[in-house]
Structures are given as structure tokens and as C-alpha cells.
Amino acid sequence: MRSLGKYLIFIYNLFVRRETFRTYVKLSFDEAIKVGYDSLFIVLIVSVFLGAVTTIQTAYNLISPLIPDPVISLVVRDMTILELSPTIIAIVYAGKVGSNIAGELGTMRITEQIDALEVMGINAISYLVLPKIIASVLMFPLLVILSGFCAIYSGFLTSLVTGVISGEDYLTGIQLDFNEFGVVFAMIKALVYGYLVATISAYKGFYTSGGALEVGQSSTNAVTSSCIAILVADYSLAYMLAPFLTPS
């Protein structure tokens, strides 16, 4: 409870004694490159393999004359949009971006760079953390869109290469019974995960005390806590929003 209270005060402090709008625009842009552009490679690699593996495994699990082949790509599509792209990529994102945020802020703390900002009369929480949150909330949904596209396209290529399903059936399946709310659902998840990873990691890093060992611990804690928060949020969002996916 004490940690939760401290976390909430931390969030409150993001919005008091702010710097100029122009300052945040520049900082947020720099952070967007770090959290978005620099994560492209790992997101693409993971997404391509997610799509490929999901296609093969679904195909082998649905071998039945009673199940038409397009159902395989329908399952791949729904799994990718609703779960794999937002949630699995969020776990990967927590590992890459979350540890980076915690490590950066932790190092700034132990080398007195944060104290230097405070002494200058700058709200260090707002100055350092708010741009990271803005960048994360803006960039993570874009990464999820890209991931979804890559995973589904990779499934298509896998079907062509392996022949577990014909290309035509795959394309038919991904258009079958498409519910647009699935994409909205994925975007809501992406916004929530982007926010959780940035705030939790920043919180863990900002309150680091000690030396290099503690910076490492903060990074590990940031990733662990972010993953737990992502899974809890995943369950909560599924419970709240899944009814909207059911065809009326």
C-alpha cells in the first residue's frame, strides 16, 4: 500500500510545476525515437515469428475434415489482434524500453544528475518522466499496429512456404467474420500497456538509491513489475471489453 501511495504521488508530481510546452515537445520527440524507432527491430523479429509459429501450430491443431481451412487464418488473425500483438509485444517492450528507462533514471539518480535538476528549481519528475510517458503512450500503439500487420503477413508467407494452408484460404480466412472492435480493443490495450510500462519503470528508476548494483536491481524490478501489471491489466480489460466482441 505504501508503494502504491508513493507511486500515486509520483504520478501527481508529473503535472505540477511543469516546464514550457515547447520543452516537452522537443523532449517527447527525442524519447519517441528512443522508445519507438529503436524498438522496431525487436518488435518486427518477434512479430514475424509469432505469426509464423501461430499459423503452423493452429494448422496442425485443426486438422479435421469438419473444419474448413480458412478457419486457421481466422484464428491466427484474432489471436494476433486480440492477444499476441498487444500483450506479448508489451512484455518484450517492457524488457527493452522498461529496463532502459529504469536504468537511465537510476543512473541519473546515483550520479546526482537528478539532484542537479532539483537544485536548479526544475521539477525533475515532470521534466524527465512526462516526455517518456507521452512518447510511450503514442508510440506503443503504433508498434502494436505494425506488429499485427507483420504477424498476419508472416502467417501468410508461412502458409505459402510450408503449404499447411493454401494462400487463397489464408486470405479468405483473415477477412472472415471480421469484427472491427477487435482493433479498437487492441488499441485500448496498447495505450494502457504503454502507460503502465513507462510509469512503472520510471518510478522504479527514479527512486533508486545506492550504486551500480541497485541500478541493476531497479531495472530488473521495473521489468518484473511492468510484466505483472500488463498481465493484470490484460485480464481486467478482457473481462470488461470482451462482451463487446460478441456479435449482436
Binding site: T107, T111, Q113, A116, M120, G121
Partner: protein, 251 residues
């Protein structure tokens, strides 16, 4: 002028500062000295509100910084320059960007004026042509001097230095001390230096506050420190062989 009144501070029930009071005058190098772990840096952090004191006040030219509202605290902080023990330069910024940082954030100065000011400050601390270097590319002594340039770039009224010459060779340490002294005299600012270096004490100690186990034991200047008559201070001052030889000779 900075006045501290009855500053006490404890961590997890362990008291580290006991009702410390003192006045740090303008235009003087005010030193807080003492052995390691005696509470000097904690006192300094209480003075700049990086740590809130449990009891007591800090007054900046009669403005109650400790109990003032957020706006007053921000205003006072913008008149403060601080040199940290390790320099505390921002790793991701070049030397020029580090020194320019307070101007970028706290002023509306045009870019060319800011650059002129940065170059002036870097020149003042004896560092030219290193504007584009990153902190990782310069030595410890240079980092300290960049830290001083950053601290003075915004024309502060108060300058705080936390162990400015720790980890430096004696020649560079003397250079840093001289620089702090020159800046204090030139701009008539209130300077507070935390140190345990006896060279600094003798070179620049216009006003000295000696702290032992969280208590103020002695206050004076560098001319009288050798004849304080306080045993703990004598043990500190004459801890090294050279100082003992100086004492024996003068006796």
C-alpha cells in the same frame, strides 16, 4: 547571506545533525568541514532542500526557504548554482549543452547570447575548445570545471560546492579552489563549500564551520583554525604528518 537556524536531521530514528546554526556571509568562501560521515553533505542538502530538515530553518537573505511556499522555493533555487561531488553533468549532453542547460530552461535569452555566455563561462574556468565533447570524454578535473561553469552560467547569488576537489590531484585541486575563491570575490556571491581537504581549508577558508558527529564544535576562519583549542578539531587539522611538522616548527 544565508542563515541556518537549529537544523536537525535524522534517518530511520538515527539523528545525524543536532541543532546546527550559523551565518554564511556574502562575498566569502564559507567552509563546512569535518571527517567523513559526520553530516556535512546532509547539512548541505538540507540547505538546498534536497533533504527536508526535521527541525530548523534556512534563510536566504531573510527569505524562509524551508517553510516558504513552492513558488518562493523555486525562485530561490533559480538563484542557486551547485557543484556536485562527481560533477553531475548530464551524460547525454555535450559540454556546451550542459553549461547552456540552465539558460535553456530558466531564461528566454536568444541563442547567440546564450552561446556567448557559455563560451565566456567555459573560458573563465580555463576550458576552451571542448564545447562539443561529451562528459565521458573529459577528465575528472575538467568535469569539475564544467560543473563550475554550469553553476555560474546563470549568475547565481549563492554557490554550493560539495567536496569540489575530492579525487583530484593536488595541483588540479588547488586550481579548483582558486577558481571558487576568484568567482566568489569577483561576483560577490555567497559560497558554501563542503570539504575535508586541509589545503582548501587553509587556502580559501574565509569562514569555517567544523562539524563533529553531527554537532557544530567550532566556528572561525583559516587564520585561527590551528589554535582553536578544540581537541577534535586539532585531531582533524593535524591528522597528516606535514601538518604536524608545521605545528612543531611554529611551536
Amino acid at each position: 547571506m544565508i542563515e541556518i537556524q537549529n537544523i536537525s536531521k535524522s534517518f530511520d530514528g538515527k539523528q545525524v545533525l543536532f541543532e546546527i546554526s550559523g551565518i554564511f556571509e556574502k562575498g566569502k568562501c564559507n567552509l563546512i568541514i569535518g571527517t567523513s560521515g559526520t553530516g556535512k553533505s546532509v547539512l548541505l542538502k538540507c540547505m538546498v532542500a534536497l533533504l527536508p530538515p526535521d527541525v530548523g530553518n534556512v534563510l536566504y537573505d531573510n527569505r524562509d526557504f524551508t517553510h516558504g511556499d513552492k513558488q518562493l522555493q523555486t525562485d530561490v533555487r533559480r538563484e542557486i548554482g551547485m557543484l556536485f561531488q562527481g560533477g553531475a553533468l548530464f551524460d547525454s549532453k555535450s559540454v556546451e549543452e550542459n553549461v547552456m542547460f540552465p539558460l535553456d530552461i530558466l531564461t528566454e535569452m536568444p541563442s547567440d547570447e546564450k552561446l556567448d555566455r557559455v563560451n565566456f563561462c567555459l573560458e573563465r574556468v580555463g576550458l576552451e575548445n571542448i564545447n562539443k565533447k561529451m562528459p565521458s570524454e573529459i577528465s575528472g578535473g575538467m568535469k569539475k570545471r564544467v560543473g563550475i561553469a554550469r553553476a555560474m552560467v546563470n549568475n547565481p547569488n549563492y554557490l554550493f560546492c560539495d567536496e569540489p576537489n575530492s579525487g583530484l590531484d593536488p595541483q588540479t585541486a588547488i586550481r579548483i579552489d582558486s577558481l571558487i575563491k576568484e568567482i566568489t570575490d569577483e561576483y560577490k556571491i555567497t559560497t558554501v563549500v563542503v570539504t575535508h581537504d586541509m589545503n582548501s581549508v587553509l587556502e580559501i577558508g574565509d569562514h569555517i564551520l567544523y562539524i563533529f558527529e553531527g554537532r557544530k564544535l567550532w566556528e572561525g576562519d583559516n587564520k585561527h583554525i590551528m589554535e582553536s583549542g578544540v581537541k577534535e578539531l586539532d585531531d582533524f587539522v593535524f591528522a597528516n604528518r606535514m601538518m604536524r611538522m608545521v605545528k612543531d616548527r611554529s611551536a
